[in-house]
């Protein structure tokens, strides 16, 4: 009889140990997942730890559904991809908003940056590409095929779509929109998808179109 009790105790002890390890692991992973979505990590941790309480698993299940269908802070304007500055890109139109007292007007208003933009990089076969964008407004297509159109910026590489992405210039800002090319578009390593729409890339350092890495700088 004593042996059976000892065996049962060991069995439940082992099961409990597995359950504890599983819960801790799940809590850790939940912490990381919600942080990637832009929420505080403790919310994920708390949702998992709720399974240890009397409310059972139904509340974490409801929270899972809420998390799946809620609006994530990651997708809010101003919380760009992977910390990339920007977020939504709305072409500026009309006069800029008043910067407060006239005597304290910001230097950006007094000294607008008239420089253009330059995209430069190395192609897959070893050649180089350098594209210049000047002016204060306009829309350009980044494409892998040379069409001769004045609004086309050609990156002659097979991994670049035809067209691949749309570049938008508005005032002192530059925007980029992925057009769903299979090679993909990456901003500082973070994937830009067509459903993200135009993104402000003025503060981005590198843009990858397919396998071509382009450095973005002011011309």
């Amino acid at each position: 009889m004593g042996i059976e009790i000892a065996a049962l105790t060991s069995f439940f002890g082992l099961t409990g140990a597995f359950a504890l390890v599983g819960t801790v692991l799940a809590a850790w992973m939940a912490w990381r997942i919600v942080e990637k979505a832009g929420l505080p990590g403790w919310t994920g941790l708390g949702a998992i730890l709720l399974t240890l309480t009397g409310v059972g698993t139904i509340v974490p299940l409801i929270l899972l559904w809420i998390f799946a269908f809620m609006r994530w802070p990651r997708d809010e304007p101003g919380n760009g991809l992977g910390g990339v500055a920007g977020g939504g890109f709305a072409p500026a139109s009309g006069p800029a908003p008043a910067p407060g007292p006239a005597v304290l007007a910001g230097p950006s208003m007094a000294l607008p940056d008239a420089r253009g933009w330059r995209l430069s990089g190395v192609l897959g076969h070893g050649g180089t590409v350098s594209l210049a964008v000047a002016g204060t407004s306009g829309t350009y297509a980044l494409t892998g095929a040379h069409t001769g159109a004045p609004t086309d910026l050609t990156v002659p590489d097979p991994s670049v779509g035809q067209p691949h992405a749309r570049l938008m210039l508005s005032g002192n800002r530059l925007g980029l929109e992925d057009l769903g090319s299979p090679g993909g578009t990456f901003l500082d390593g973070a994937r830009l998808l067509p459903e993200h729409g135009p993104r402000d890339i003025s503060a981005v350092r590198s843009i990858r179109l397919g396998s071509v890495e382009l450095a973005l700088s002011r011309a």
Binding site: W28, M29, I33, K36, A37, F67, G83, A190
Partner: protein
């Protein structure tokens, strides 16, 4: 006797079928939101089908989401 065995086999098959259907239905409660999370993260929604794997399926999905870089981009780390 033969009819009893047949009846028992039919009952057993029905029980197993009901258990499988119940398992899939319960898994769907996890699969549907996870499918959406995976899609929003930039992964294939089919990754959520790991929930059909008993015991470790959920851990596989969570591990993928937690420890890999999201193709659709991640929020900047909180300070």
């Amino acid at each position: 006797m033969a009819s009893l065995v047949t009846w028992m086999l039919a009952l057993g098959s029905l029980t197993v079928a009901l258990m499988l259907v119940s398992y899939v239905l319960v898994s769907l409660v996890l699969i549907i939101p996870t499918w959406r999370i995976c899609t929003r993260a930039g992964f294939s929604g089919a990754l959520s089908l790991f929930h059909l794997v008993p015991f470790i399926g959920s851990f596989i999905v969570m591990g993928m989401l937690a420890f890999s870089t999201w193709p659709a981009g991640e929020a900047a780390p909180r300070r």
